[in-house]
Symmetry: D2
Subunit: 335 residues, 4 copies
């Protein structure tokens, strides 16, 4: 029975506490903490026997904590993940691994120095059934070699504190990771184009069209629309030499009503990926119980953030920005 401590009990942290307590196998939440102590106490009530700590560092030190979920504000990720590594405790860190490539790199170096995987980054899409099918079809050669990928990442609306960069750092970062994984290929350049702005987006430049190039010559276009009103919708089509493979419409019931045949779409992203979050965290629990980690690595987290930084730069300048990565430690060598 893995005893998990959860740092950060906001919306996603609370979801993970419930998941670890009531849904997953082989784990329980033994400790929580949050900058908002009252909120931490409220969430602790969901997890029988969970104690509340004053700080993430205290939680990491707790002898009844075998492994840690970091779901706090991005700016604090580095310190908590490094604390876990120092304590030799497996850690699941929500995406992005850290807001800057520099911070991510320090995590990579710390883990590489240990010499075995301790960190899993929360890119849950890799655990989604539909994305897994997409990868399987690509890997099986169903469509020949991949040449293009068309993606769209659409949110019905975003909260008031949303700023333009976040369409890259919070939204498109999922695409940055997933296309690397889908294609087993590395992104070498990015360019961000800005069409006319959506009137629902106040001052935010929305949508964006982000173009990625891979080392292997694949071109990827990613639409991010963060105020599109109609729902939360994730689309991806890989175009190959002899065909394409595409995510399905999220499989909801079909209503015939008022002049239309309508497949319902989720408004909330958590509904779309609920099962992926379960599978993702179960995979982490299973690996952490053996002292290690699986799935998206610190290196993946570092690369995704590096691409985000380049994309933010491109959004400002309009130019094509090449991606420069540090040398990849052998720990993260592609198998």
């Amino acid at each position: 029975m893995l005893r998990v401590g959860v740092i950060g009990t906001g919306m996603i942290g609370e979801d993970h506490v419930r998941r670890l307590t009531s849904t997953l196998s082989g784990c329980r939440v033994s400790a929580v903490t949050d900058v908002d102590a009252e909120r931490a106490r409220a969430v602790a009530d969901v997890a029988p026997g969970a104690r509340v700590h004053d700080s993430g560092e205290d939680l990491v030190r707790d002898g009844e904590v075998d492994a840690v979920v970091v779901a706090s504000w991005g700016a604090t990720h580095e310190q908590y993940v490094l604390a876990c590594l120092a304590a030799g405790k497996p850690v699941f860190c929500e995406k992005p691994l850290a807001p800057s490539a520099k911070e991510c790199l320090r995590i990579v170096e710390a883990e590489a120095a240990i010499g075995r995987r301790m960190v899993q980054v929360g890119f849950m899409r890799r655990y989604d059934t539909a994305f897994a099918q997409l990868k399987r079809a690509v890997d099986a050669g169903t469509i020949g070699a991949p040449l293009l990928v068309h993606c769209a990442h659409r949110n019905a609306s975003v909260p008031g504190h949303f700023v333009a960069d976040m369409a890259i750092t919070d939204s498109a970062v999922h695409e940055f990771d997933i296309v690397r994984w889908l294609l087993d290929d590395e992104i070498v350049a990015v360019r961000v184009l800005k069409p006319r702005a959506n009137g629902h987006g106040r001052d935010v430049q929305d949508p964006l069209l982000i173009l990625l190039e891979t080392a292997g010559g694949v071109l990827i276009d990613v639409e991010t629309s963060v105020n599109i009103q109609y729902g939360y919708d994730i689309r991806a089509e890989v175009v190959g030499e002899s065909g394409t493979v595409e995510l399905p419409q999220a499989g909801n019931v079909v209503v015939r009503q008022s002049g239309g045949v309508t497949a319902l779409i989720a408004m909330d992203w958590r509904d779309r990926f609920r099962q992926a979050y379960d599978v993702e965290l179960q995979a982490w629990v299973d690996a952490a119980a053996k002292g290690g980690a699986t799935g998206p690595t610190s290196w993946d987290g570092y690369v995704a953030t590096t691409i985000s930084e380049a994309a933010v730069w491109s959004m400002g300048t309009g130019s094509r920005v090449p991606i420069k990565l540090e040398d990849r430690p052998v720990l993260y060598a592609v198998s």
Copy 2:
């Protein structure tokens, strides 16, 4: 240039006048008539040079009429079709060929006595691209031998004069014809089941579930819903030994809006089958120009009406009603 006379200039008759005048090749409307003389005159204005007759018989006799479209009230079909046969003029008769099997049979006998095809019945679905593809797939053995057919025939609403029988005689009669044609098989029995009635249907028993059995052992279920509000929707799926083949959703644009992915559906049946009507009537024009007829025969019209009569009987009694057909004249032998 085939000179066509049109008897009956109601909604469908007027459509045919426009089609013959402005859309089809090798024809023009030279004469029209209607019980409502004023309406006949108004419609004649659409067709340059068309004269208006006082009666269908006058129109048939007109030396400037080479061939006739009968689109008048069903009860008058027999007299006008027989007049055309007597005059040796090819005739296109809207479905049903006649309201009773007895009337249809007199047409069959008159045409059989002539010994060559002169009559085409207006079962336009046979000319619809999607139905043609359905038949092609069945005939090609794509799904193995057909075993079941599931059909639905849905109208958003029906006019105030609609009575329960018409869900059979006006709506399901299309399915009676099309499954015979799809399967190259004959209907041998019918049973009509009545679920709880739709509140939008006033006194009309709606919907119905109609079960057909063929000589070859295929079972067909047909839902007729004549007040289903949401649109005009025709569906059919043929279930075979190794798969199924199904009509597509009518191919309208797909709107993502307000929590749904919606394929628009026609409210009006004329939109759904507009192209089929064009192809159907062009086929008739081309055959009539050579003095003959093609497509659905008088015999097909007689059989469809016979099934309608049995179905109406079953609706009253709830029992399974076998279909008894007269001997098929050699003129209508299956090729």
Copy 3:
């Protein structure tokens, strides 16, 4: 931590052992048994600490078994479920509850005598996301009052020991349960129609068209096809007064290839309902941990088997068979 004993470690029993061990929260498998002792031992290896019993009765008596899953051959269900009730242990029994209504009734009576729910029957569809959405749409009045339901239950193929009745007792029994649940209405009659047989089915009469009538006047048609080759496919459309609501195509990726746009379909039913099985059994674990049961009741199991018996009778005779139920104990009163 609920300690679960599993009786029957065939395909579905083994699935449940893995699920209880590696996927679900708050439970572990403490004991297993099977008529095939070797198989029981092999499956026990999947569940650390599980002991192997010689008989179901031994397992039920085991002090380290808090609750029981019955996944053995249907003919043994009654004895094991009654043993659990006698021992005061919550029990999850795979469908059907028992092969005959008489056996089911004895379980109902035994549970009713205890006066609180102890039994959950394995109708997993009620826990499927898409079926849940279907029910939510119907209950919300999205389509007005339901009038008709069209269902299809298709298996690619069935094993050699399959006999014709099993299309009813093993397959359509799922539809019998789910339409009662969807409509909150009771089945009052059934009729089974037999079309021409599928050549892939050897001597088995396949497919069937099963017609159900509810007390409220809803008509349901269920196609069962057990040798349809192309895949495992479950379809349902509820037709209401102003529209319809339909299960989605199982949400697999879409491949454009070789002249077609193809949504992949599962060949194996376990893939289609994998998540439903997880949710179903977690619900049981959570209720059993409190000493009770939730979801489909013994009464539901009894009714489903009663309808199966009537349907088998109708398949033999071709006649409409009314459903007669015993009085419903107050324990199972509709809330």
Copy 4:
């Protein structure tokens, strides 16, 4: 009865001869010509009474020719269209209007000098039902102001003489025209990106990703894939402020077979747009019968070719190429 002369009786020219002869209303083919005289004679046989001319100029002069269809090799378009204008005869010219903007401009100037429309350019998509629905939805404000358009133009394969430019000048030129029309907006810049090449394309750089910017700030991405094997597929999705609207899958039957639910796709572009070609040419016949023209103008043809030239330039250099247009004659003022 409009007497039409057809210059060029290759594949598309022959199609038009058949269409004018057997499908459309109010016209017949009175003359044909082709560089391959034998082919011209063979095609003339399809059109009763059509004579064969030695040259396009002869055909234009023919007193029995009221209006002309130019379906010859692109390099000859200018001379034949100018000949028609000189003779005062309405002309339908297949796309592109001419291979270079300079040639197109001479046509524009000649027509503008006459002061009324005489030329219709063969951008048939504007007459396609689905594209018309797309425009109607955009114009109705269904999705708010348009911000992005995603297009794909895919051919199963291309003939041996195909060179890389043709993916722009022959394929994407349709998208250049249709997005201008859809958005009522002008293209101001183009950039062509080249991913890794499809192995099926021999030396041809295939696919391309073409980016267009409009005066109003809309960004359009167009994938051209000319060797994608699986079929002919045209896709377009307009992304607006509150939703999107998308072309349907071409509405073919759906086959359930071998592990998939497959909507069939045309291999041949003529199947996809057959009806659009009919409607397009009927519109021309109707306008030509009155001495004028409708639909896509010479100006539209000039603009499309100008964008093609810029795109070809960009393909060579990789840079963003601004579009510079001459002043628009008042004849082509937007109404």
